[in-house]
Amino acid sequence: MHDPVLIAQYVLAGLVTGAIYALMAVGITFIYSIMKMINWSMGEFFMIGSYLQFFLIMGLLGSARWYLAVPVAMAAAGLLGVVIQRLLLRPMFVGMLERRDEYATIVTIALSVFFRNLAVVAFGPYQFSPPDYFRPVQLGPLPLNGSRFVAFVGSLLLLSLFYLGIKRTWFGRALQGAAQNRLGVQTAGIDLQRLDHMAFGIGVALAASAGALLAPVLLVHPENGSVATVKGFEIIVIGGLGSIPGSIVAGLLLGLVESLGTVLLSAAYRDVYGFALLIAILVLRPWGLFGERERVA
């Protein structure tokens, strides 16, 4: 039998991790919902965000001003995303290119390999860590690392801002329109190419924000984005491809399943629990928890 306090600690630990997972996944699902393509290099934008955060703190802003580094890292990664979208992805969306999705897949996988190797060449295979953002805190029965607490709160804040931005602003409504019908928004006079630019930039900036917030927790190294990639794709399938609330709920669910499975079953199969959940969802509800059945005319 497990102590109820311990179970409560495991649940809380899972929810904290889940909120962070959700932030990693929202960018992927957002880009997919607008551009109808999957960005396989999201993990590398997470990694870029963590390096930017580290160097901004250690070289420019100092550890006390870590909170200024997060938006700067987000903006820089977002700008890089816009440039990449403009140079490498936009040409596929301008012409009537056949098999556009396949080209996008190849380009983003190539970007992923490129950025990861670039990090190894530039900074070596070593782990770096900025100082913790905050002193350890007690979240109910759970003693929590200050940086993890900041990442948790930061994730909730960014997800809320993002959700409000999508639901309450004109630009957000335009994005929702593009997610529903790309041709439809063009007939309403909206510049779809510009929306794609912005969507890609915002999506990768969200991944970079997760990397920046988690830099002292997951450490800064060339491979740190692989977790974001794997978990992100698990979450978007569980939550429903293109559904932002689905990504948030699926992130929390995945964190919870992993945390409880780790301690109640075996830690050696931590990833298996997430994949078991994924398979169960694919069998019972293939369109995901919050996804919708595709209608083919």
Binding site: Q9, P131, L142
Partner: protein, 329 residues
């Protein structure tokens, strides 16, 4: 001799590709440098097929040499050496309840299994609580909470690279370490990254090491130490000593064999005595994992001040080299 470098990135497939390139395109006479047991185990059959002597520089799974392969050699500690070292340390320091948290790799599982086997065979009065985690794990909090609830006297951290650091950080956050001493399974704290990444959190961490400046060196070792320190402006580290030593051994074997051909080198290595950085080594066809195996001495060090150099760390074990006692805050 010319050194040609390929990066295995810690993955078997890249290790295989790199080895094949070195052997077939660069036509190297021997390959050294393996760090990950999983990569070493995957590449060994290729070394046999291509008849290239293959040296483990820091891969320590017993299975590597237990396979009794003709072209595999090792001058690094193996699981039984490491498990024996920490079991002796545990007994001498009076720990009764020990938690081991290890990754699900050949290295982690091998070490845990060997420790359990030795405790059982020797009927040691030690209660072991072993936990195996997935190598991709980044959140150890639930596991560490479980360990803390078990009230161990000592935690052995068998993570490699990022997991090793994350375990220390997250154990500190939940109040497990340094209240409960923690022992690292290898010498990663000797690198400057240890203090850069952990800061004060790393203080009181104990770890297995294979070198300490108090240890005697051969003339070869002294020659290398001097040049390494002049060039890199940092104390020479074991991985560099061991890689250099293996190249020196290969050079001596080429001289002895008067050939660079693989089978001639194997014969020379099996029958000769070779000067290494820390002594003379041989590669006999020994029993079990001691086939073509030359184990270095092991030490257990503990940091007792933030930003301490590993040369100033307290030597806790072996008893004949001990310079202090285990400290807690």
């Amino acid at each position: 001799m010319t050194v040609i470098v390929e990066d295995d990135a810690g993955t078997p497939e890249k290790g295989l590709a790199g080895f094949r390139k070195l052997a077939t395109r660069d036509r190297v006479v021997a390959v050294i440098g393996q760090f990950h047991s999983s990569v070493m185990l995957a590449v060994q059959p290729l070394a046999e097929e291509l008849k290239i002597p293959f040296f483990s520089t820091q891969a320590s799974a017993a299975a590597i040499t237990s396979r009794h392969l003709l072209y595999t050699f090792r001058t690094h500690a193996i699981d039984p050496d490491r498990a024996r070292a920490w079991l002796d340390f545990i007994q001498r320091f009076g720990f009764k309840k020990v938690a081991i948290i290890g990754e699900n790799t050949d290295y982690g599982v091998g070490l845990i299994e060997e420790t359990k086997r030795l405790v059982s065979v020797q009927k040691l009065p030690i209660q072991l609580d072993t936990l195996i985690f997935d190598r991709g794990t980044t959140d150890f909090t639930p596991l560490l909470l479980k360990i803390k609830a078990g009230r161990p006297d000592l935690v052995i951290n068998v993570g490699v690279g990022t997991p090793a650091y994350l375990i220390i950080k997250q154990a500190y956050d939940i109040g497990l370490f340094p209240a409960v001493p923690m022992l690292g399974s290898y010498d990663f704290p000797i690198r400057p990254e240890f203090w850069q990444n952990l800061g004060p959190v790393g203080n009181y961490f104990a770890f297995i090491s294979y070198y300490h400046p108090a240890m005697p060196l051969t003339d070869l070792g002294k020659w290398f130490k001097e040049r390494y320190e002049a060039r890199y402006k940092e104390p020479a580290v074991y991985s560099a000593f061991n890689a250099f030593g293996q190249i020196a051994i290969i050079a001596q074997a080429i001289n002895k064999a008067c050939s660079t051909e693989g089978s001639a080198l194997v014969q020379a290595l099996e029958t000769g005595k070779y000067l290494n950085w820390n002594g003379t080594v041989t590669f006999p066809r020994g029993e079990g994992p001691y086939w073509h195996q030359a184990s270095p001495p092991l030490l257990i060090l503990q940091y007792t001040a933030v930003n301490q150099s590993y040369g100033d760390a307290t030597i806790l074990w072996p008893p004949k080299m001990r310079t202090g006692t285990l400290k807690k805050p």
